[in-house]
Symmetry: C2
């Protein structure tokens, strides 16, 4: 396996990493979810080198995660907007946030609000079949070609 | 923000990335969840340079995600075992897997089985308060110091 060839690996985790696995990419997506949509805004929030930011944005567009759109209110300005494919990465960031809150923070600095019910929550994975919370040891990932727990 | 200083950022996502954000780390964890526990096994499965693998394993131990244990059946062999903190990263990998299955694969190559109910599932995030599935647009992340949707 080569890092630059993850996109063709027969593993969904590896292929996802081919899109979001480079340094800074997830933090750029975090900014997009925060409605920070401009190159200068990303640079100000993250402080990464402009060449790296430019490369990451190019890849995210090529992968269909972001769209670059002309800002209708400011001629010559562009916004980087999450596509449906990009917005669907939210659960990845939310699970990272929950883990970081639990293990990397003295106290949470961010609160997740569920707008449907209005509550502050810690998002959890559940089973859409039996409706129970997915406990850590209760999932097995079985490859189609071989048995392999994850 | 500097990549090497993510651990002190006031953001749980950034701090999580300080542990799992380097290239290969999540794939090493994937192997651990598959019960692949040995240095040579990681090298064979992933094909990454030994120096990189060694550095990643060292960091994962320092961060309390993996423990290096003597293999009781083979003198001189070591196993890298997920701690509770490490096993709790499973939701991050499962959400990546679900996204990759949806967007990066013609057909899923891995099936997630919920051992509690025996069903093949796509794990989903839900709200532990109102018990509803968390739809993409129904969460807002509010920083304690300022309002900021994620």
């Amino acid at each position: 396996m080569k890092w630059d060839e993850l996109k063709t690996e027969p593993c969904s985790v590896a292929r996802t990493l081919s899109v979001i696995g480079e340094k800074w990419t997830i933090l750029i997506l975090r900014e997009c979810f925060r409605k920070n949509t401009r190159f200068d805004g990303f640079e100000a929030a993250l402080g990464l080198p402009r060449a790296v930011l430019s490369a990451r944005l190019k890849t995210l567009q090529e992968d269909g995660v972001l769209e670059k759109k002309i800002n209708p209110e400011h001629a010559g300005r562009f916004d980087y907007i999450l596509t449906k494919k990009g917005r669907d990465l939210r659960p990845v960031l939310l699970t990272m946030l929950a883990w970081g809150d639990q293990y990397m923070m003295d106290k949470p600095t961010m609160i997740v609000k569920h707008t449907l019910c209005g509550c502050d929550i810690v998002p959890e994975l559940y089973c859409p079949k039996c409706q129970n919370k997915l406990e850590a040891e209760e999932t097995r990932v079985v490859e189609v070609t071989q048995s392999s727990p994850l």
